[in-house]
């Protein structure tokens, strides 16, 4: 019987320590710490959560509980081009669901997943404050308004083309 070892890369651990100490290693700062950590790593893999728990003196089960409770946090690496479809009320009534289905069909992934080549990930969000443009889709920082299912191919092509 021996201890359980959790491996973390040195520069990742240093970054986590930096974020935690910027918040005074306060257990009550968990959500802020996770938010910044995700900003840095793009997602929150298990070993990162272990390191955060260790720094803040919290059970890792609690950190995992918080990560899985808030839809903002993810344990799946995001694609190079994260796609977010607004399913807030205005977008929804103007057909966001059909747009979402089309993205799912064309990418072959479910909400919360990333394509095998790591290019695209798919998520939903609630209202970006551009209801006049409903339904709205975000790819990375770029906003697309009045998106219809038959416009999905064109949006994806834009990013596929850029890569070539």
């Amino acid at each position: 019987m021996s201890s359980i070892k959790v491996k973390v890369k040195e520069k990742d651990l240093n970054k986590i320590k930096e974020i935690c100490s910027a918040h005074g290693n306060e257990p009550g700062e968990l959500i802020n710490v996770l938010q910044q950590t995700q900003e840095h790593f793009g997602y929150l893999p298990a070993e990162v959560q272990e390191a955060v728990a260790n720094e803040l003196g919290l059970p890792v089960a609690k950190v995992y509980g918080v990560v899985t409770f808030y839809s903002f946090f993810t344990m799946i690496p995001q694609g190079e081009h994260p796609i977010s479809i607004c399913t807030g009320t205005a977008c929804y009534v103007r057909g966001a669901d059909n747009v979402l289905q089309e993205f799912k069909r064309q990418l072959g992934i479910e909400v919360g997943e990333t394509t095998d080549d790591g290019k695209f990930s798919l998520n939903c969000l609630r209202c970006v404050g551009a209801c006049g443009l409903a339904p709205v889709v975000l790819v990375g920082d770029k906003t697309y308004g009045r998106v219809a299912p038959d416009g999905v191919r064109e949006i994806l092509a834009e990013y596929k083309k850029n890569e070539e």
Partner: protein, 592 residues
């Protein structure tokens, strides 16, 4: 304290400001049904997430219903607890909970002992409207050495989370996900055996449904008894006799020692022995070790590890291994009574009856879930054959007795077999918080001073139910400071003191469960009534009084064991069979 006047179901009650509706109602004898709510008054644990809404009541002037468990009363408040609106709401809530709950009650381990089932029966629920819209979760069942988790049966009351995090400070279980998918689990939904779980079983002790239960070894036991070639030996822990009766309609605190022995014999055990015998053996070893450390310390040895911590509770041992690995050399190296029993039974006793080790099956009857895990630890095996083959709980024994259609009340009282059924009052009190250290004090005092305790054998200052107790005992001019904690969160406080070099103690007794073994995770369920634990504690002290011999070192069979087989306490043979070592099981972050 400021008082407020409240009217509940037309009854007037005056309560301190800040009291909840639930507690105020209780004052006037009104019992509001609850599900997620849990109040373990005697150990100061209250769980009131206000999540299930089963305790909804109507408050005059308030639009929506109020959760009685989490709503504070105010002066002039008028509450109705059983209007049609309340009853309908309560029904709807339970229907919702049942909508995504498995319906295999007939074969569920908790059937007949489930708080959700009780509510469904009470409310006469016959169908579940809207069931087709519920998303049934499909978590895999997790079998650890001690605890089974069936998350599909979790109703998110979060009582286990409260016990695991707040009371025990273990942090193995926490709520995760949301909505239909939410349940309680270790991080990343890993199996319990890889988590920092200590197997104390307090989560199981408070789970209202069948989501958390013990690993059941009843079938293994029946197989062993059915095999004519094996010698099946039982050992029963002290706390079992003080609780088993509750499963058969006895008042809490009724001792059923003799009837239990007779039931075990009729079930087919070849020998019915007592773990109390091994508890006496533990005291002789541990008491000698304490005196050894103390005299070295008094002679000026700075290296000696003090305080010495007791080591009979396997959940406590796992706690120190997981959470305080740097202190793993301060508990006594003495094995627990269960394991001392096993190693003596499979050597000394096996020789006596001329039976081979592999034909001996040693079964322990324990109030505990961690004992199941302890019996499977590698260091307690010889050529892969465990000293204790398996451990069953008080609840499992009760089921076996019922399965055999025995009526405990009608059974004769019988005595344990010799030699390993002989025990003293000191062995018995191992079952309660404070008992191990009192037993050790009785022996250490006489060994150290050479005087006889005679009438002063009961150390009242070590007894009680407070979370952390401190006492000093005068060893003829030398003051011995003793600390006692029950509950791992309380133990943590004493460990932190040691770590900071502030500890004033020479010896500390720690038990993981509330009240000690009497409140173990394998005992009949207390259903939130902790006065039951106190009744069991009284029964344990009564059993001690009933014993003609009350000091471990005076047990004639223990004396014989040393004379015929072991040699001296802490001697070579004793060391090999009766002592152990501890490991670092903590999680460590390492650079890749």
């Amino acid at each position: 304290m400021e008082k407020v006047q409240v009217t509940i179901d037309d009854k007037q009650v005056e309560v301190p400001k800040g009291t909840t509706i639930y507690k105020a109602a209780k004052e006037v004898g009104i019992d509001i049904p609850v599900l997620c709510y849990m109040n373990l008054e005697d150990i100061g644990v209250e769980n009131k997430p206000g999540g299930c809404r089963v305790c909804s009541v109507e408050v005059e002037g308030r639009k929506n219903l109020a959760p009685a468990c989490a709503t504070e009363v105010y002066d002039g408040m008028v509450v109705k607890t059983h209007t049609m609106r309340v009853i309908n709401a309560r029904r709807t809530v339970v229907e919702f909970i049942l909508s995504d709950h498995p319906k295999d009650c007939l074969t569920c381990k908790k059937s007949g002992n489930c708080e959700l089932q009780d509510l469904a029966i009470k409310l006469g629920i016959r169908e579940i409207p809207g069931q087709e819209y519920a998303e049934m979760s499909t978590y895999k069942t997790d079998y650890s050495p001690s605890i089974v988790r069936e998350l599909d049966k979790c109703i998110m009351c979060r009582r286990c989370e409260k016990m695991c995090n707040d009371f025990q400070t273990v942090g193995a279980l926490y709520a995760f996900n949301r909505g239909f998918d939410s349940a309680v689990a270790p991080a990343f939904e890993m199996d319990l055996q890889y988590s920092p779980c200590t197997y104390c079983g307090q989560c199981v002790a408070v789970c209202p449904t069948g989501a958390l239960t013990e690993v059941d070894h009843s079938r293994d036991l029946i197989d062993a008894i059915s095999d004519p070639d094996t010698t099946v030996v039982a050992q029963t822990a002290p706390a079992v006799r003080a609780a088993l009766g509750e499963e058969f309609g006895y008042e809490p605190g009724t001792l059923v020692t003799g009837k239990m022995v007779s039931a075990l014999r009729r079930l087919g055990f070849d020998y019915v022995f007592d773990t109390d015998f091994a508890a006496d053996l533990t005291i002789v070893e541990e008491g000698t070790e304490l005196l050894d450390r103390l005299s070295k310390y008094l002679d000026g040895d700075q290296e000696v590890k003090l305080p010495m911590l007791t080591s009979c509770c396997p959940a406590w041992v796992r706690f120190i291994e997981h959470h305080f690995p740097e202190m793993k050399d301060i508990p006594s190296s003495a094995r627990s009574p269960q394991q001392m029993f096993g190693s003596v039974a499979k050597t000394y006793f096996a020789d006596k009856i001329n039976q081979k080790r592999e034909k001996m099956v040693v079964v322990s009857i324990m109030p505990c879930l961690a004992k199941k895990y302890e019996s499977q630890r590698d260091e307690f095996k010889v050529d892969d054959n465990p000293d204790v083959d398996f451990s069953v709980t008080t609840r499992e024994l009760a089921h076996l007795i019922k399965e055999a259609n025995f009526h405990l009340k009608d059974m004769e009282e019988e005595d344990f077999d010799k030699p390993m059924g002989e025990s003293t009052g000191a062995g018995v009190i191992f079952g309660t918080t404070g008992g191990v250290i009192e037993a050790a004090t009785r022996t250490a005092y006489e060994m150290y001073t050479g005087d006889s305790l005679n009438d002063g054998i009961e150390f009242e200052q070590l007894r009680g139910f407070e979370a952390i107790r401190k006492a000093s005992v005068d060893f003829n001019g030398t003051t011995i400071n003793i600390g006692i904690a029950h509950g791992l969160g309380n133990a943590r406080k004493l460990l932190d003191e040691i770590k900071e070099g502030k500890s004033e103690f020479h010896a500390i007794e720690i038990m993981a469960c509330p009240g000690g073994c009497i409140g173990g995770g394998g005992q009949p369920l207390h259903h939130n009534d902790t006065s039951i634990l106190k009744a069991r504690q009284q029964a344990i002290y009564q059993e001690d009084k009933n014993k003609p011999i009350r000091k471990s070192h005076e047990n004639p069979e223990i004396k014989k064991l040393y004379k015929e087989y072991l040699g001296k306490p802490l001697g070579e043979k004793a060391h090999k069979l009766l002592h152990t070592q501890y490991f670092d099981l903590s999680r460590k972050i390492e650079i890749d």
